[in-house]
Symmetry: C2
Subunit: 322 residues, 2 copies
């Protein structure tokens, strides 16, 4: 062991999404040395998926050193449980029930494996390699198809007693509000601030305002991208879609700040391409809902990580955070 040159140690980072899985070999400086991907939804059995991942990843791993250079495998996945190493009842993955994922990975790769949910992994990635370097208290919010979160307090991820802490996308921002398409809850942050939520808002608003540019698109092309195109052309309805989204996000952020008083909130994911259209109202409504002692203190910033690599970096950070 004493002969190992730490600067040559690497980790395998794996990011499992509902459709695609990305993986990469990452070194201590947060450089992705090599990467690949495979379809998640092509494997009905988790064992087949892990076999396929091994087939794809092992040649890359051999290229970057033998087993002794690998400190471990970090996996970010929806509904992953850090304490138990499981993926549990994930609605968007093909594998049902409670999957002992870390155990299966270790059996196949002969390396220690740690799992956590994808947003927690993203938060670790930001802390080790991104915009949150040196911060001990921050919250990461991922705004994609859904809304995820990872919370760092006192320099550590908050896992909670059962490993499931940090489901901020499912907190209720408007009691009795919009029904969530999958959970059935009413008025959750995800129902408004995810890409899916933005699409719902846009469809509703364009129906109310026939003059909106948004009505030039067929129904199935209404999404955060087309809303952005119309907002760039100053369509007031498209602008209002983002403003409303930003307001709901900002109201939620104020509550999060009064919980853990973070130094910064980092935003990440496809939705942030809307930039100031969402960020400005989010900031405004966050500040106006804060107690005075919290005002003008919390940085609201976009992730600095390359979106293509962030999930892999975050997953690999799990290996070194332990």
């Amino acid at each position: 062991m004493s002969l190992i040159d730490l600067s040559k140690q690497v980790a395998l980072g794996v990011d499992i999404g509902g459709t695609n899985t990305k993986f990469g070999i990452v070194n201590h400086r947060g450089e992705v040395l090599d990467k690949g991907n495979l379809r998640t939804d092509a494997y009905d059995k988790v064992e087949d998926f892990i076999d396929a991942l091994y087939e794809d990843a092992y040649p890359l791993m051999e290229k970057h050193g033998s087993e002794k250079h690998f400190d471990g495998i970090g996996v970010g996945a929806p509904n992953a449980n850090y304490y138990k190493g499981t993926i549990e009842l994930a609605p968007n993955l093909p594998w049902k029930g409670v999957i002992p994922f870390a155990e299966l990975m270790t059996a196949k790769f002969n390396l220690p494996c740690t799992v956590t949910n994808d947003a927690n992994a993203a938060a670790l990635g930001e802390m080790l390699f991104g915009a949150a370097r040196g911060m001990k208290d921050f919250i990461m919010i991922t705004l994609g198809t859904g809304v995820g979160s990872g919370i760092i307090a006192n320099g550590n991820l908050i896992y909670g007693h059962d490993g499931f802490a940090g489901e901020l996308g499912h907190t209720i921002v408007k009691p009795g509000g919009r029904k969530h398409w999958s959970t059935g809850s009413e008025g959750s942050l995800e129902a408004y601030a995810s890409a899916t939520g933005i699409t719902i808002t846009a469809k509703k608003m364009r129906a109310e305002f026939p003059e909106s540019m948004l009505n030039q698109y067929p129904e199935d092309e209404i999404n955060s991208k087309t809303v952005y195109e119309c907002a760039m052309k100053e369509d007031p309805i498209a602008l209002e879609v983002f403003r409303y989204t930003g307001q709901k996000l900002g109201e939620a952020l104020a509550n999060f700040v009064m919980f853990s008083s973070p130094q910064a909130i980092l935003l990440f994911g496809g939705v942030i391409k809307a930039g100031d259209f969402i960020l400005k109202p989010a900031k405004l409504h966050m500040e106006r809902n804060l107690l005075p002692i919290f005002r003008n203190k919390v940085k609201l910033v976009f992730s600095e990580l390359n979106e293509a690599d962030a999930a892999i970096l975050g997953a690999s950070a799990l290996v070194w955070e332990k």
Copy 2:
């Protein structure tokens, strides 16, 4: 130092409220050996208050050993900052601005002094001496004139980057809802679930329902105590006041659970005298707003600490938590 018998070590715990200050000598087992109190609001200058506290407390301290038996002083106070040792802009205290309270105490008592907000102190008291012994993740909610909170995650209090974390009473449970009498925010938990909030709800509801027993009291006697009396006599309006309060509390608790996934939520303070009238709807509305993975896992319990001593115990716990 090596001659000191740890079992004889004690701490001075001080709980500063807007009207009264309580203090006590506490040992390692959480026994209050001696206690006293003085008026907070009788001293316009904080230096005079500390002098008076010293006059009252020092004789008791001498009785329980010399300075060498005292590990330190712990102070719970509104708007107290753990990192800076200050009390800052506390609306309910007579001393304005930013008070270097720990420094002033150390200068007078010649002992190290740690401060934190009263609800954080209560959470530490529960962890060291009360219902949360052995728990590493729980949330303490104090339901009194106001609503305070202390959050323990990974076995530590969450202070946030600036020492002000855990202001859950000021999180918004109903956007655009009831205006807070002091902060001006709209729809905060405190506006509904504090004793003050219950009084507002009761006055509003009795005006709507002339047949309510609550109308037998003069306006200035409507408070959580008289609502309780009417609820015990099965007045449906009084029962509805508590049910509504419990609902708002439960909705807020669901959001807190999805933040830090605590093993338990501990409730403390005058309002919990309403017992099941509030607890049952709180539990119901917490559960129905939770994602399935969190359901039926979180214990919702009342504090086990003697209310008269809890604040002193909590403050003293600060000394040993460090």
